[in-house]
Symmetry: C2
Subunit: 186 residues, 2 copies
């Protein structure tokens, strides 16, 4: 039985979500893994939300490993659904790995253009809320969970199509991540 990998990420919101899911499952197979792709892409009426939730939880429970697309989504952090699933799988003692199109530190993205104000020598955002300043690429719970599980985060090399959709697919960093997973499991 090949090692199974839950493929979490906001990929499900891409215009070509189904194709991206197939592509990621094919790449998993290349690496000797079986990819499990969530079903969020079947967006529909409210009645379906509970069914999608249950299906994704069931799929996570079948996974040996989680690989998370942590690319920033509608803000400086990873997608909320993806982060929920990271917490879920980490809590189930599964090794978790990430990949992302954004190698810079979290505070760099919050600052965007320009520098942040400070309060008591610590950086805050424009609303006066503290900004984590650990040099990590996202909230410490995300990055440290991956480290604690023995995982790692791979980042995309620059270049290619710069559209938001294309940046979110980030197959080069997905491949780089699977290469790291392979070194541990094969």
């Amino acid at each position: 039985m090949p090692t199974t990998i839950y493929l979490a990420g906001p990929d499900v919101f891409l215009p070509n979500a189904i194709e991206v899911g197939r592509q990621k499952m094919a790449i998993c197979q290349e690496f000797g893994f079986k990819g499990l792709f969530p079903v969020d892409n079947d967006l529909g009426v409210e009645a379906d939300a509970a069914a999608i939730f249950r299906a994704n939880c069931a799929l996570m429970k079948r996974a040996d490993v989680g690989v998370f697309n942590l690319s920033p989504f509608r803000g400086p952090s990873a997608d909320a659904g993806t982060v929920f699933e990271l917490g879920f799988l980490f809590s189930q003692n599964r090794p978790v790995y990430g990949y992302s199109n954004a190698p810079e530190s979290y505070i760099t993205r919050v600052a965007a253009a320009g520098s942040l104000p400070e309060r008591g020598g610590r950086p805050v955002d424009r609303d006066g809320l503290a900004v984590e300043n650990f040099g990590l690429t996202d909230n410490l719970m995300i990055v440290e969970a991956i480290r604690a599980s023995g995982g790692a985060i791979a980042f995309a090399p620059p270049g290619g199509d710069a559209s938001a959709s294309a940046a979110l697919e980030t197959m080069p960093s997905f491949r780089a991540c699977l290469e790291i997973v392979r070194q541990r499991f094969h």
Copy 2:
């Protein structure tokens, strides 16, 4: 032994984080619960991130229930660290509850001013990425996990100080949430 409640939320980033934490723990005590407040507010150098992570995970494992401040944080969704912890505690079969300053649907916040474009009859954001349209207040994994655990989300009544910091504290909805928790556990 009183029921213990893990008090998750971006409250740790507030200027008065320690005071807010004490206030929430005092309210817990009023309701007959013991509040456990995370230690993220001790923001410091990178070396501390792993220690904070371990301390928060240890604190979550001691909790009987999770109460999450799901108010939108630096984007249309709840804070990433908070959502990680929601996934973690849900996965540990703990009942999870939420409260928030934003009762409107997620899609309303993504749309902000104006309406969203559509693709194939479904709403997408300005980058062409699908927007969940279930009438839920956040990503379906968040809202459905709370429902599946038997929990609920309480929303703040309008009014009061409209600053971002004050809106994030949202003690009235925290109290409303504890009232719901009390009905189940006492």
